[in-house]
Symmetry: C2
Subunit: 285 residues, 2 copies
């Protein structure tokens, strides 16, 4: 059996009992290590499981599925994914390849950020389309996520912004010379995402393209390391958020749409400043 | 500490290791038993945990939080919720009441249907607003969820339809006479939901209110008992779905928007008929 096992979001013990039982008895265990990270690394997981695990990078998963699934028709193979195996990042291509090879598969679900974001207090069924905010470069500053946020706001819906992760990047020099030397992983912070949003707001106001509902004073919510002991939730204006340090990754950002009084009360628990609280106090409910 | 612990969706062992550790050491454990159900009941959970648990119905949670949280500032109390504690049904009001009482709280996340629906193969970030489809009665046949589905379709987005659950209903006679006699729980099936959608399509075509993208031949996907051993996923036309029996609850229904070829291939794995497959074959990708 080929098992896709979700690890949840925070610590080693966020795996489900069902998932842990599979990990303990599987012939081989792979850890998908390129679309997300836990607050603990491979070594901590190995210590917790009491067994060795194999890191699977993108090349291996996308190009070496024969290796990954070898003998999975006769032995158990577990493929571990942070969050839910079919959550924020989907691995449906692996399922399709398993089916093609006549290998039975099973998914062991777990929390992904797509539902754990409920921790900030905004109701999940009031979210619109999820967006991804990527690292801007000097040459490439896409703004498409901003337009999707506006469409959601227009309908009163909240937007979950997933923030970019860069794993196994190569410098242009190393890439051209074919040297397998990789840069340290990078994770877009909530502050950087807020800063990029502020720049778009600024660009749009100059170009007078739109009467955006989003301003530097708009309330947003950031979450960091959801599920872990040192989880952090912060409500702030976009302007404030751009200079807040929420610590180590992963971060996510939420742009609230129309809020129910209960939702405002929840956000208020995490407000960083009087300015933010003013927007969320009973008079404004 | 007041712990809100997610149980995941399928079996007793879908609880996380972190959650199970809390359940085992807590002074009191409550099971929220009115917004969702596992495939196993209270007794199976008690046997699995090796301890007693207290069923908490809506009245108790909404009106007796003093009792629920009694001494939670000095002992550990666990409040178990099927899925994620802040997922499809939110319990943020409990968090607000805990904060008010100066009781520390912690959320232990788990899979909810909001991310586990990834099992059908449609990518989570291509979903729009989630809708709820309620049981129709002779007098009350709301159609608002249908309009939300159309808005999502218009933007190419998929729609997750959560299906109604009726727990602890009373007949009008018992209600008027104040007799605490309750009807057996009822769960809207995917077939019933599809049937209601067909009726709306029929009504709208007569009234010529809209040129809906939804027809009796539109493809939909139903999931039943996600995460459990006897989980079922079925792709069918709305017309076909209306007569399919997916077995015991819970069911959910998805109306796909624009589909990527990989998404069509996944849905094809679960197709019930050649008619459905025709919509999802490579020629139509």
């Amino acid at each position: 059996m080929f098992y896709l096992v979700g690890l949840g979001l925070g610590d080693a013990n966020d795996i489900t009992v069902k998932g842990l039982e599979i990990v303990k008895k599987a012939a081989r265990v792979y850890l998908e290590a390129y679309t997300s990270v836990l607050t603990v690394g491979k070594e901590a997981l190995e210590a917790y499981y009491g067994r060795g695990i194999i890191l699977a990078d993108r090349d291996m998963v996308e190009q070496s599925s024969d290796e990954l699934m070898a003998e999975a028709d006769v032995v158990d193979v577990a493929f571990l994914v942070v969050g839910d195996p079919l959550g924020a990042t989907t691995h449906t291509d692996l399922i399709l390849r398993a089916v093609e090879k006549n290998i039975p598969y099973r998914v062991v679900h777990n929390a992904s950020i797509m539902d754990a974001i409920g921790c900030c207090g905004l109701q999940l069924y009031n979210y619109g389309e999820t967006v991804s905010i990527v690292f801007w470069t000097e040459e490439w500053k896409p703004e498409s996520f901003y337009d999707k946020i506006l469409v959601n706001l227009d309908r009163g819906l909240h937007t979950l912004c997933l923030l970019d992760i860069k794993m196994k990047e190569q410098t242009i020099e190393n890439l051209m010379k074919g040297r397998p030397i990789y840069e340290p992983p990078r994770f877009l912070s909530a502050a950087q995402a807020a800063q990029q949003l502020l720049e778009i707001i600024e660009n749009r106001s100059v170009e007078k393209k739109t009467n955006s509902d989003l301003t530097p004073n708009s309330i947003c919510v950031a979450v960091a390391r959801v599920g872990a002991d040192n989880q952090k939730i912060v409500t702030a204006s976009l302007k404030e958020m751009a200079s807040l340090d929420l610590g180590p990754p992963l971060h996510s950002l939420v742009i609230p749409g129309h809020m129910h009084p209960l939702e405002k009360q929840m956000l208020n628990l995490f407000a960083v400043s009087d300015h933010t609280k003013t927007f969320l106090t009973p008079e404004n409910l």
